[in-house]
Subunit: 267 residues, 2 copies
């Protein structure tokens, strides 16, 4: 008889939410052999679309899962909607309920009667149009009960090689760091594209520079390899740049704040 | 007899400056078969180190190159020093003199008697400790005279496959865009590392997220794929993050400015 390994455990899952995270996560889990059985989302179109993309899922019009034989519910909704969604959710007592939020505590799930709360946070940025290889995506887990933790760990290890246990307090710090590294960085890249467009310059000109910047920042602490007019205190260039941004007072202010921040950072 | 192709022209070059750009550029040019014959830098140590790293170069203690049989001088010094360096430079009339600055105009070289001014701007961030493949690095050229342009073009094409002609006005806009895409982005990555360290979290946790953020920003306009609490106007998360940054008033301010900038950006 073959041994039962952790990896071979197949779980029955319901999803609440049909956004980008739910989209990628549910399909990765189905591909790994788990059964995604039901998808609920407030939007009938979204839940139907996601359920259609999954081999065994049906779209359901309420988040009452008491009639389903499932091991766990994954709630993947915007952070601001999580408390309300948790309030409305109904599960058979003992069901593990995990949310996928970086910023929200595990405790937000305490209000779900009978649920064993957990967190299943994939540390990645998802968009529907771009496939992501989850194998390399860190998945951050948290649970209060050991068996709930084991269950989400089984699930996480079936789709990723980078699984970490991180409590709510550490996770919210990580999420803040991710906002700087991802959301704010993306915005700066957008500003640079906008400035290129305004000068009728091709957007791809900066790509090698951006790749090298990021590659270097992974090898050494970015503060130690800072370059540019700010760190050199090159006032002539800084003033010329502020002058060029005259038509964009907000960008001017942002340029100034970032320059000050670079100049006052202690390495 | 073999045909003389543009690529086979070998040039005799002197460098003024021995910083990171001079270091990488001079070695790439030597590897491509050009003769880097002399290196001048105010620092005796720097010029000697760089000259030693080049097969045919000597370190010289003044920037008077009138005694040298050279085709061109490349000035690669900090932007703020460029005017003064140009003032002191002496060349045999007709020598091409090119600077490597993104922010400075070609005209800053007009003060050099007899020089044919040019710009040779490699759009990359260099540090001495990390090798860069210049083949993929855009090199931006400018010159007033056609033969000077041809000379720097020959040089550029011998080390890079991405050679562009860009005038001073466009180049300074490009440089401003590069400050946002490279210098400011590096600073944000540094902040995220600092926040991870403060929370005792491993720095590599964010690497897949950063790679994916940049990969996506190259495929679509970053403004169109912005994610995070700012674009979702998720006030609870934003306020929680500002609260977490209470010990870092400058970061708090930067977080606020970046959030405002994301929220007021017209896509």
């Amino acid at each position: 008889m073959p041994e039962t390994t952790v990896e071979s455990v197949k779980l029955k899952i319901a999803f609440v939410g049909a956004g980008n995270v739910a989209w990628h996560l549910s399909q990765a889990l189905a591909t790994a052999g788990h059964q995604v059985m039901a998808v609920y989302s407030r939007s009938a179109l979204s839940r139907t679309e996601l359920a259609s993309a999954l081999p065994e899922a049906i779209a359901v019009s309420s988040s009452d899962f008491t009639g389903f034989a499932i091991d766990l519910v994954i709630i993947s909704v915007p952070d601001a909607a999580l408390a309300q969604v948790a309030k409305e959710l109904k599960v058979t007592p003992g069901t593990v309920v995990a949310h996928t939020s970086g910023s929200q505590p595990l405790a937000i799930l305490h209000q779900i009667p009978g649920a064993r709360p957990a967190v299943f946070y994939p540390l990645q940025t998802f968009s529907k149009t771009k496939a992501v290889n989850l194998q390399e995506v860190p998945i951050l887990l948290e649970a209060e009960q050991e068996d709930a933790l084991q269950l989400v760990e089984t699930l996480a290890k079936s789709i990723s090689s980078k699984v970490y246990k991180v409590d709510s307090e550490h996770r919210r710090h990580l999420h803040l760091a991710a906002v700087f590294a991802c959301n704010f960085t993306n915005h700066l890249l957008g500003i640079s594209q906008k400035l290129l467009q305004e000068a009728n310059l091709p957007g791809e000109l900066l790509q090698p520079l951006i790749h090298e910047t990021v590659a270097k920042a992974m090898q050494q602490h970015p503060f130690k390899i800072q370059t540019g007019p700010a760190i050199r205190h090159d006032e002539n260039v800084i003033q010329a740049h502020l002058q060029m941004l005259q038509q964009h007072p907000r960008l001017q202010e942002l340029y100034q704040k970032l320059t000050e921040s670079i100049q006052t950072t202690k390495v």
